[in-house]
Symmetry: D4
Subunit: 254 residues, 8 copies
């Protein structure tokens, strides 16, 4: 029962075409399924303030192609994450207007529909060069969502002066995303240098005990610095969504 059907029902009650009890009966039976749906089933972008993005990891090239074709035609901004090069090539052969970001493993399109967000600056920091693909997943996602970003790559704690140089930028950022593998120590340092909320992203860079990002994840969860929260290992997209939610809240207020 969508809004139109509900209006019709109420009109019928008003003009006597349907009795109060009959209307009550229908409303009692259906509210969650249908009114509930009318309320909740808006596009997720309305409800959560985030554009739809396609998680392509488990989708075949064919499935991905048909989904993106629809998004392109509906004038939605396109973001498809976790697209490996082979899949990207197959999709791009079929569809025009897509751009493949190899490091980020993202396909984008319909950039003309990006709405600039009037928020602050989102700064992305990585500890090493091996962490850059995860950072790029976040950066490209944020760009498609309309957010301004800056990047500080390869500024890990074993050469601590590198991040100290960026103190000013960190102070000016609205949100800082810090991406680090190995011991995952950089977010603690950064969170001690800025009033901005820090989103820490552990990466699976590393080996031996704690490999697969576990050392970094545990380190970040145990950070002694306040103003920091964590997303899952290698989850650049998730960090981008959190940053966007923070920055949109910001935007919203203005």
């Amino acid at each position: 029962m969508n809004e139109q059907a509900l209006r019709t029902l109420l009109e019928q009650v008003r003009c006597g075409g349907v009795t109060t009890e009959t209307a009550l009966q229908r409303l009692r039976l259906l509210p969650v399924q249908e009114l509930g749906s009318a309320r909740l089933d808006h596009h997720r972008s309305v409800r959560t303030g985030l554009p739809e993005a396609v998680f392509a990891e488990y989708k075949s090239a064919e499935q991905l192609t048909s989904i993106l074709e629809a998004m392109l035609s509906q004038q939605n901004v396109v973001v498809a994450t976790r697209v490996n090069p082979a899949k990207a090539e197959l999709v791009c052969r079929e569809l025009d207007g897509l751009c493949y970001h190899a490091s980020a493993r993202i396909l984008t399109g319909n950039d003309q529909y990006i709405e600039k967000v009037e928020g602050g600056l989102i700064t992305l920091v990585t500890a090493g060069t091996s962490d850059i693909p995860v950072a790029e997943e976040a950066r490209v996602t944020l760009a498609q969502f309309g957010h301004a970003t800056k990047t500080v790559y390869d500024a890990g704690v074993a050469g601590i002066h590198r991040i100290l140089f960026e103190a000013e930028l960190l102070q000016q950022s609205r949100v800082v995303i810090v991406i680090a593998g190995m011991e995952g120590a950089l977010p603690s340092v950064v969170a001690g240098m800025t009033p901005a909320p820090v989103i820490a992203v552990p990466t699976s860079v590393g080996y031996g005990a704690g490999a697969g990002g576990y050392a970094a994840l545990l380190g970040m969860l145990n950070s002694c610095a306040p103003g920091l929260a964590v997303v899952n290992i290698d989850n650049g997209f998730g960090a981008a969504c959190m940053a966007a939610a923070i920055n949109r809240a910001h935007d919203h207020k203005a």
Copy 2:
């Protein structure tokens, strides 16, 4: 070498009391330690935008008393977390003007110095009643930091209608903190209902496999909902700091 000492040195250079080389020597040796310090060694609250808080877990009643005495006299807002009842009683016997929040296990004081933050509403949601102490740690901390909060306690997913009732509130919040133990599913549901950034706090409520908060933590890190980040198990204070950082950023802009 603080700013005054630096000015004096430069004056001496200017008037010839110190040679260029001598000044260079002193500046070359000391910059990080001292100029760096002049820049970095502001109170942490200036650098990170968060008031100082005392983590009392490993401190004796005596140590805690002397720290809080100093904070009270310096007209700082007082927040001491992880204070058990016995320690609280000992401290309150020594010092006037402290208030003990038993559920939150927090001692507060100097509330007259709280500066109201001009941000939005921070909503705290718990899945069960056993999660309330962690939520209270966050709520009391945020109150001392000057943020407005609302609470929705005991709205877990096994009775899904309970959180659905709060859809409006969730839509209006600037930040939502969701605290849940057991399977930790609530943050995913909430993040699907609001544009606000969601800070998920796993709690150690539960037993058997995944006890100690691990099931909840892993569930939250694996959330399929975007716009969500996680702090450590039972870390209500950490969630409050992240929320404050987000809300301050907001405030900052205005």
Copy 3:
């Protein structure tokens, strides 16, 4: 907005006291919260077919007393699990009509309101004597829920003939709950001997590697026997609920 309020609103639409658009507005804003609630907010027992039970682990004696007092006066069957002896004693001092099952750590009351379920027999099997408290938690819960149970205690696999003696009983049961710690092997043996669904409950009995019930839990999850599912470690109450749900479904059909 409960059913009465909805009827009133529809009446007002019908008689023109409220315009269609106004009614639509109210219905659009509220359906999930209120109509949804009207639909969903029945007592959980109506929705899930299981009586309410109180999980007392994290509740103080005072809290537990006031909850049970209300349940007793509302003529609900009373089941409060995870009540340690000290808490039980305090509660029983305050309230009449409660019975404490020490091994099961359960408080029961209002037994006169138990409704017998017309289902089959639920058999509880334990591997050792140390597993009996968990079995008793399940047995007492099922008794309060109105189910018929039989018990076969101390029939572990190191003396395999003990369970073989019970082949007939296992064949006749509608549901079998098997409770085992240590290596947790018994559910596999039982599931190979009966057409009934087997609910496996690992217990925290044991020591060394795999202590805390992990060896038993993993063993049960890896069972090579079909027709078996698992609940959390020591979760006798959860096993009872699953068994009740199975047996009720049975009952329902008749």
Copy 4:
């Protein structure tokens, strides 16, 4: 010693051809091995109420072919699980009358011998589209076992209205199987909406911390909703067997 041999022995006792003591000796030595076998060694389907199914994971195409050939000729319903496409192709080249269900990775045959079970409806729910293969393993298995199923795919908690729409179906089901990866939260929600027993199946969909299905498994074991039990990660077949055992018990009674 099968039943015939036992009868012969008793006849010999009766007619004096064998003394009581000799018979006693033979019976004392052999009962478990032989009488026991006569009793126990029925086809597993008689003992456990579940048709035989072939777990093909570790079997070569040759081994699988010869097993299935025998089953086909013996007029048994054929279910072979965990058959990858290459193996399926090899087997189907050799044997007629098999059907390969690619998503479920199951080979079926002899459908004409399926005996319809007079039980209720078994509903299969998945959280995401990536969980569908595990659900299909359960669904195809149940179909071969003669059970009626319905499916609700892609109804995860990040869009909570999707499962709310299915409240009526959940209420009418005899058994509900809920398949979910990531945070594994859906079974808790479902178990709060239905009186039916819920079988929760964690899937290995996901990445980072808790990958491989561990986050989902732990979440389901820690579910705060009663009436729910869990099978191993990706174990669609195991869930089907448990559901069949529950539904057969049902059938049995009628």
Copy 5:
């Protein structure tokens, strides 16, 4: 149906008091339960060659007292393991003729019924002094089971000469039990020095990563030396049983 009942039945068949078919019916129904039991239900000591021992960990002083009272009166050798001092004192107050081995945490009695095993020497080696209680649990158990033992305590690998001094003894032993916590390296060294089978017992001595005996357990499972098997952490009793089984097999042959 015990042996006597079976004889009676056969007699009845012989004399025509029971028909062949009736006897067949009774035998077909009962064999596993009753004949099976007649065969299997010997005292465990007959079936497995090991005397009964009481695992007292989860038993109250009252329960333990009544079990031991029975064992004492039945002229069984008494071994009760995991008896803490308080429980031991309570039991010894009630029963005469028990001896408490404090380090081993074992109560023994009826030593006059110990049957000497005609096997070889069982040597117990510990790495450190902290491992001695576990070794003593094994030693006292073996003494009650009638086996000859020698001990080499405090011969860990950080002073490798200590175990080298015992090369001769190790060569002469029939079984060697090596008990070690920390890194658990000693069993590998010992297994390289003797033809005897080595039973490795990890102990929970240690701290930090790998505490609780996990480092030792994993080390022993990964031993590069052949002729070595492992029992659970701190399981001195289990090691004794394995050693006894090996040594009895030996004895048996003679």
Copy 6:
């Protein structure tokens, strides 16, 4: 300094060709290295009673060929474990007289030099057919070491009668090796049926939680049956060595 060299030195001392001090000097400097070596550096087979075996996992076909060539020419019994088919083929192309056991993944040779051990029977039991390769690794190894073996394959606990049939064989065995994956329950059942020492071998057969053999390993370590010890996951060779050590000890005595 081998025994011969030592004798020569002593002869020289006796006849005055070497002074006492010179001899002392040589003996003082070298004892561990040389006398120690004379004592310790016998072929491992002398010291530990086990023939040399080659662990081929990490060796190239070339390395393996040259090692086996030497062993063949030195008239040693050849056992090379963990040889994959490709490597086996390469080696067999180079060397005559080798036999490849595909299921066991073992290369053997020089069988004419096998010395029969005068011990008892070693019985190998597997729970499933997938466990057979590990059992075969043990069986072939034992054959090369000169031990008599029998096998009972596919006798897992979900069809408990299968192992009950073998009660007699289990009673007659000197050692029983039980190989099981999944829940690893079979060793407990077997250890309750025989006086022989039971060596439990967990296998990596299984999936989901506890995969890789962990569920089986933990189950076996937590076995409630006495007279059982465990080797590492899939370690058929290790089990064979332990069984050989037990059986040799036996042999030794005769």
Copy 7:
């Protein structure tokens, strides 16, 4: 057989009092036990260059007293670690001349026998104040071993300037021990600032995921900075021994 006994034996060979064969026999039987011992059985302090220290954790006050009494009388430097206050008090009541270091939980004595090591400076750095007890365990141990130490306590990465101030000291140290709990990030920063070898000590300070020092341990093992090695959680004594070994090597050379 010590050196003197060996000389005597050789003399007897030389003068004919003992035949070559008899001498050979004795040397063949005993070398490892006795010559080996003569070589290896020096006091550990001679062999490893480290004074003896007593690990008191598992020792009773009585045991500890008698050990320390002997050490005091033998004019050994006394270091007993892991002595809790109660045990310390009991011991000190019995023995004169001991000093209890409460934070370090160490008893020391016979300081007059400390030999100053001619090495460099060992600097101890902690991240937080809660890490100080572990640092003190290292510092007091090093003092007893004769090494010069400096301490920099409470210099964690969330206030990165604190460690930057100490750049000069770090450059001048021969060894740096860095003690940190929580995320354990400080050793990476320090190792990037000094040419000295860094010994990282994780502490069990922290809570939630990674508690007990695991997050810190994994972080340190995964450090991206070279020139760093790790000891076990809270193992201040172990760090001191490693530092002493490094610094002694240094000393040795001079």
Copy 8:
């Protein structure tokens, strides 16, 4: 602002070209970024005393080629670790003067610029032959860093005499690196035989429980021998850096 720029600024202050306040302003704004950098941003080799090395694991052949080309032309000693054979071949095709160490998986070059370190001997010990690649990574790295090394390969604890033979060498070494997989017991034995600091390197050699190097890692962390610290699994390079730092400290003093 480098040193030259700072000198210029001070000159300008001296001669009045810049006011004190202007200079102060520039120094206050920039110190960390620029003076800090001037101080800290020396080549890492100056700051940490270790030459640069390239971690090639995550670098493409193209990236690696360009980095090494630069290093070769700048007359730096070249060490690139974790170079697989395919990548090595591609790089060597492009660049002259590189040498590939296949076992160590290292590319070296510019050996003429190696500066010999005047330290002691660094001895590398492995437990088995499978551990040699990790040892070679350490050995080749140390050679490029200018350190003298000796190797003792295949001296594991199951044949304890092998390491005993090397007692003299161990006594003479300045640093000992012990590389071991499986149970990782060798470092404890070695640390008990030498005054030198021991760096323990667990390797991923092994299988089953504790595979991937975890058993060895935990064993080493729990070593009962003092004077030992640990690096991450398979981290031969890290061990070399630690050894170099220790040996350089040594060198430094001379």
